[in-house]
């Protein structure tokens, strides 16, 4: 039954028609510096998985304890042992690519994108995702270069508006060997802010080793402070009205590989975040 008011939320939390989700996450390793992508307009986030994750092989998501279908995230609190504001949300595996050969090297995940949700009262509407590239096999110098387009120069991604776009920017990494786990965001065309899907990635300059996974990130809540020892608190009613569904979006076809984790920017290695998320059943 739909939420009707604030007291309704409080009553559901009191009577057990909700959830409290404690979590501990740790960030991916990022030896080689956090700012390697900045020259090309990129961010270098730390993808945070559940404590115990082995990057990139065993990336554990935060267990959705009590959450799931027909639940709403209504608040949370988290802190960390370092300067670490973190956005928490769902990661959807879009596909993988290798950097060891030129030409089309992207393999899409079995799930059919776009991911969909109900928005503004309309069902099955496409979800916009922030694309992150996570290194799964360490990339060696010579630095590979790639573009979000096909070998023939066709569209490489579907942007936030649903348009198929030929990625204009030469992307890559700079200077140092990128270890397994290292992540950057994809460098989209000017004025694009997100993707609905990735179509193809063309490697223009190959490296001797390297493979990546592309995750689409759907942020749900931002927590944490930029000073260690402090905790960030967010209430979905009184600190920025925003209730988000505590379940992954639906695929257009097939089953998605997804997990609930975090994105923290500019953090040093070996940072842990810990906190609690809470919400109610619909």
């Amino acid at each position: 039954m739909a939420i009707t008011n604030i007291k309704d939320i409080q009553k559901r939390l009191a009577s057990g028609l909700g959830f409290y989700m404690p979590f501990v996450t740790e960030n991916t390793p990022g030896a080689g510096g956090w700012n390697q992508g900045q020259v090309e307009g990129s961010l270098t986030p730390r993808i945070q998985g559940f404590y115990g994750s082995t990057y990139p092989g065993t990336l554990l998501g935060i267990p959705i304890i009590g959450g799931g279908a027909n639940t709403w995230l209504t608040g949370g609190v988290a802190g960390s042992n370092a300067n670490a504001p973190v956005m928490y949300g769902f990661f959807y595996k879009i596909g993988t690519f290798v950097t060891t050969a030129t030409g089309n090297q992207f393999t899409h995940d079995a799930a059919t994108f776009p991911m969909t949700r109900t928005y503004f009262g309309e069902v099955t509407k496409p979800v916009c995702l922030i694309p992150f590239v996570q290194v799964t096999t360490a990339i060696t110098i010579t630095d590979p270069r790639y573009r979000l387009q096909t070998a023939a120069g066709g569209a490489g991604y579907v942007n936030q508006d649903g348009a198929s776009v030929v990625g204009a920017n030469s992307c890559g990494w700079i200077g140092v060997t990128k270890p397994s786990g290292f992540a950057t965001n994809l460098y989209l065309n000017d004025l694009d802010c997100a993707v609905q899907d990735i179509i193809q990635i063309r490697i223009d300059t190959a490296s001797t080793a390297g493979a990546c996974t592309i995750w689409g990130f759907e942020p749900m809540i931002m927590l944490g402070c930029f000073d260690q020892g402090m905790a960030g608190y967010r209430d979905g009613v009184f600190a920025g009205m925003q209730l988000t569904p505590m379940s992954p979006a639906s695929t257009t076809g097939g089953s998605s590989t997804n997990f609930f984790g975090g994105v923290g920017l500019m953090q040093p290695d070996n940072v842990c975040s810990q906190g609690v998320l809470w919400g109610v059943k619909d």
């Binding site: 504001p85 956005m87 922030i130 802010c193 749900m220 009205m241």
Partner: protein, 255 residues
Amino acid sequence: MALKSVNEFLARISAGFGKNFVGMGNTYPNTTSTLYQNLSRCMKFQKLPSSLPSGVTSFIPTSLTLFHVSGPVGGSLLFAGVNLGTINFGTSSFTDGDTYPVVTELGTASSPTWGPIITEVTTSLNAGAGTATLTYVNQAGTTGRTVALDLQASSIAGSAALQVNYSGSDYGIRDISSVAFSGQSAPAGVVKLWGVRPLAMVYSGASSIGDHCVADLLGMDFNLMKLGINTEILLFSFATSGKSAISELYIVGDN
């Protein structure tokens, strides 16, 4: 009808009428940045729908959260943009856009609004772009006012500037009527002129490790505004060098 309480907003979201607009953006390095009025475009959110979904009368932003990488000193401005027009220096032409909107304001229907101009460089200007002189309607509705566009020579795409000069004692514009060009030599460059309907000004520190900010638009940063179809929501930073950001803007469909 219109949503008229916190509880009504909650119920509306629970009924599936909210949306999280997510995105990332890069603020672009600006040109000679000795003047405060330089800005950098950080992000354009996904444009609001081109038609009203059934049962939705307008779109109300309620919450903004923002990560900055090495936060721009002084923060960022989130606003609903008014497309005032586009200037093509290369063809010495002006494509007119909209006026500042006429709205119901303080109980008065059809009130004209006014505001400043943010000039966004969409194609880099060269040294020969010359000067664009705007003819505009001022805040009081007086036509035929003129002023040169405040824009640094050779500004690169992604950079932006606040228009800080007006004619005489004017302090805002309602509309741009036409543009005249002078001092051009093999000019190139395109700029878009934005009117500003402010949603939030968020501060982020100069931390070199990233910073975050939140605007609570139904609470401590109260700024309830009803936006229409096709509205473009933009985030510009008071920054003079490239910064990146991840952001989410939550919007509720009004009834």
